[in-house]
């Protein structure tokens, strides 16, 4: 079909011995990579494996320390994203590089030839987004758009430059399964046009499904290249992690106890124009149960977490009951004292203060709920440094937190390790009720399986756990029951075994639009 099939064809992009040093640390070490024209090439690796550093060099954001990039066989130096774009490389970043205060069209215009008028860009973006099945309103302000829509802007922006290679950095992590399917169709369309795609992911199933070839990175080095369709998820994971990933074990026959978390038709108005209002939310979680709440980002998960944790108390004390006590008006610490624990979504700035050491971060979270263990001197509240430090050590050991030094700054830990710490910080208390939001977002496979196992073990020990997550694999791994949140409405919860991926996907797409879906569900 394309010239790329022949072994003698010159690859579109070749990387030879590409190295990036940060001080003495080699983020990328002599990387070799070939991307043929018209292929979808996966770049697999855990967090910190060097994927992002590699693509940043390819896109001219970072300067390589050594090595060579060949474009159509000719050596090139890519000094800036502008040069990358002129070569024909488009990039869709993992953390969107969008400007919230600007409109969709203005955002796109910023990366295009300044001579093209804004109205022409609007028209082209509209028609292109239609052609590739990515609906967008060019005049909308980015601040008003959902994460999925923001990603579409990035893709359309990359496509408008008519690139021969498009780099996508973890594109499906924010999408529903159906949205991801649409994205894959777009990618196949691009491939059929002879364009190449460099697809960065750690989701093995989708790599196997859509990619022609895969290059696996670990610790900044290439660990192998393969045809992902010939591999199993387990064999790919082994290449990625370097050892077998511990499979999460669950005891299916766990007995459920009393209701520990209860919410009764709670409605909360949106606090800001960009927030989601919660509509008539009810839930019951029993001891030993793990209720997973699925949903696409920005459908009220954060707001639901806030009212559960007490970060934003609600007016009606009885609307939320923890362990049988009405807590609606109680703040976080009040709820913690009742034996609840909470892990918010944002690691940096919300769950942890990046510039403070782990021990301080531990104390900040637990100074009230574990006053007796960590503070002394009565009203003077003097910190017992030894107790805080030994607790920090205990948590790091229990959760296998890998860090440099005894008590490093939270910000110096990798995402996965910091996440293990902030989850461990709550688990250490053996809370009777635990609510976690996106426990393994952006976390590598090893750390994710560790965290999931810890959550399952906690439930087994008789705690009620609520896991709010976008990751459906995770949900099926840990949940005993599943509910779906969409536009601030929570579906009733179903036993995990009764739901399929497709059903959840449909519910995520908007239960409220067609009532037939939840209606048929009642028939079970």
């Amino acid at each position: 079909m394309t010239v790329s099939e022949g072994p003698a064809a010159v690859p579109l992009l070749s990387v030879r011995g590409l190295t990036k040093l940060f001080g003495n640390f080699a983020a990328c070490d002599a990387i070799e990579l070939d991307v043929a024209a018209g292929e979808i090439h996966a770049l697999l690796g855990e967090n910190g494996a060097g994927k992002s550093t590699l693509v940043k060099m390819l896109f001219g954001v970072l300067e390589p320390t050594a090595g060579q990039i060949l474009w159509n066989g000719a050596p090139v130096t890519i000094r800036s994203p502008g040069e990358a774009r002129r070569l024909g490389i488009g990039m869709v970043f993992q953390h969107f590089s969008l400007f919230e205060a600007l409109t969709v069209a203005e955002n796109i215009a910023l990366s295009l030839d300044p001579r093209i008028s804004l109205s022409k860009i609007s028209d082209e973006a509209a028609s292109l987004s239609k052609a590739y099945g990515l609906p967008l309103d060019p005049k909308a302000h980015v601040a008003d758009l959902s994460v999925g829509e923001r990603q579409r802007i990035e893709i359309v922006r990359a496509l408008l430059q008519n690139p021969s290679l498009i780099i996508l950095d973890e594109p499906t992590s924010v999408l529903t399964p159906q949205e991801a399917d649409r994205l894959f169709e777009t990618l196949f369309k691009l491939k059929a046009e002879g364009r190449s795609v460099l697809y960065i992911s750690h989701r093995l199933e989708e790599v196997r499904r859509i990619c022609d070839r895969a290059t696996v990175l670990r610790h900044g080095k290439v660990r192998g290249a393969c045809d992902p369709k010939q591999e199993t998820p387990a064999s790919l994971a082994r290449m990625m992690v370097g050892s077998d990933v511990a499979e999460v074990h669950r005891d299916e026959t766990a007995k459920l106890g009393d209701v520990q978390i209860e919410m009764d038709s709670l409605s909360v108005a949106a606090r800001t124009p960009f927030a989601v209002s919660l509509k008539n939310i009810s839930m019951k979680v029993r001891a030993g149960e793990i209720l997973a709440i699925a949903g696409v980002a920005g459908n009220g998960q954060g707001e639901l977490f806030d009212v559960l944790s007490g970060e934003y108390p609600v007016a009606d004390d009885n609307a939320i009951r923890l362990r049988g006590r009405p807590v609606g008006r109680l703040g976080i610490n009040g709820r913690r004292l009742l034996g609840a624990g909470f892990v918010p979504e944002e690691r940096h700035g919300h769950a942890a203060v990046a510039a403070m050491p782990l021990s301080d971060n531990l104390l900040l979270a637990r100074s009230q709920s574990d006053k007796r263990a960590f503070l002394t001197g009565g009203g003077m509240s003097i910190i017992r440094q030894d107790a805080v430090r030994s607790a920090t050590r205990r948590i790091c050991e229990a959760m296998d937190v890998r860090k440099s030094g005894e008590d490093p700054q939270a910000g110096s830990l990798s995402g996965g390790n910091l996440q293990k710490f902030i989850v461990g910080r709550e688990l250490d208390r053996q809370p009777a009720v635990l609510v976690v939001n996106q426990p393994t977002w952006g976390v590598d496979a090893g750390a994710a399986s560790h965290i999931r196992q810890a959550l399952i073990d906690l439930a087994k020990a008789g705690s009620a756990v609520v896991v709010i997550s976008q990751d459906l694999d995770e949900i099926f791994e840990v949940a005993t029951s599943i509910a779906v949140i969409s536009e601030g409405r929570l579906s009733k919860s179903y036993p995990a075994g009764e739901l399929t991926l497709e059903r959840i996907g449909l519910m995520m797409g908007g239960i409220h639009e067609s009532h037939s879906i939840p209606e048929t569900a009642h028939a079970h």
Partner: protein, 304 residues
């Protein structure tokens, strides 16, 4: 009588509008330069000196612009190249400017200055009332009007203006897109300095054509407040500038008429108005989010 008051209001408002417009551009690029007062007074002393030595207030205007821009370059070097704290550097710039201008202008104190003469625009200036008020003005007034139109067009119609707003919103992403963040910020800061210098020239060539130490008298701070008051929209600077100017003049006339309002209260009015506006705009989170430069005052270090 009314005409005369209006003329004084225009004269009092023009430096506020000009300086605020310059600061608005700098802040739209994400740089908070609290040194407006210092740059303005430097512009005033440069303009006065150049006019005295050459006899031409037009060369004085150019010198004022150059003085403000040069002085802002110091701020740019400290905050953009050396990534010093913008608030502290801006405050230092004001204090330095007030002291340095006093030193430079020591020999000018009490010396007569040359007033910048109005330019009457043919035909238009013959319109009754409006002609006299609007079309028989000095060059700096005309420039202030042109600046509003020009800056509005630049920010919201031109591609470079779009880049400037992008940098102010998210300098990390702008850098990733290949926009030269530091270079554009240097230019924006220097534009702000040039405008502050022009405003200073207006003080020492039009408002009171002489050199008096500390003659900027807090106008730089009013200009800073005006930018927030205008919620970073250039056309609102015009409205706000004239409101603040009218309050200043109104306070003088109120004194003359012996109206029993304490003058201190009246001179505090512009700041009180700014606080009220801040409260109002903070209620509308959406407009705030869209107009306020999100990376305002944040240091930028490229990760290359």
């Amino acid at each position: 009588m009314f005409e005369a008051i209006l003329l004084t209001v225009i004269t009092a408002s023009t430096p506020l509008v000009v300086a605020a417009l310059g600061e608005l551009v700098a802040e739209r690029s994400g740089v908070l330069n609290l040194g407006v007062e210092g740059m303005m007074i430097m512009g005033a002393v440069f303009a006065f000196a150049a006019t005295r030595y050459t006899g031409s207030p037009y060369i004085g205007i150019l010198a004022g612009i150059a003085g403000g821009a040069l002085f802002s370059l110091l701020f740019g070097f400290l905050t953009l190249t050396l990534v010093a704290n913008q608030v502290a550097t801006g405050l230092a710039l004001t204090i330095l400017g007030l002291g340095l201008s006093g030193q430079i202008g020591e020999s000018f104190v009490g010396q007569p200055g040359i007033k910048l003469q109005p330019i009457s625009i043919p035909l238009l200036s013959e319109i009754p009332f409006f002609g006299k008020v609007l079309f028989n003005q000095d060059l700096i007034f005309y420039l202030s009007v042109a600046l509003i139109v020009g800056i509005h067009w630049f920010l919201f119609r031109s591609r470079t203006g779009l880049k400037l707003r992008a940098i102010g919103d998210n300098h990390g992403s702008a850098h990733a897109l290949g926009i030269h963040v530091v270079r554009m910020r240097y230019l924006a800061v220097m534009f702000g300095g040039a405008c502050a210098g022009l405003a200073g020239a207006q003080l020492s060539l039009v408002y009171t054509p002489q050199w008096v130490e500390n003659m900027s008298a807090g106008r730089g701070w009013i200009a800073l407040a005006l930018v927030v008051f205008a919620s970073w929209r250039p056309r609102r600077v015009l409205a706000g500038g004239y409101l603040f100017g009218a309050v200043t003049i109104g306070q003088l006339h109120a004194q003359a008429f012996g109206i029993g309002v304490p003058t201190q209260l009246l001179s505090a009015l512009p700041y009180a108005a700014t606080i009220v506006v801040l409260i109002i705009i903070s209620h509308n989170r959406r407009t705030t989010l869209i107009n306020t430069p999100a990376s305002l005052g944040k240091p930028f270090v490229p990760d290359r």
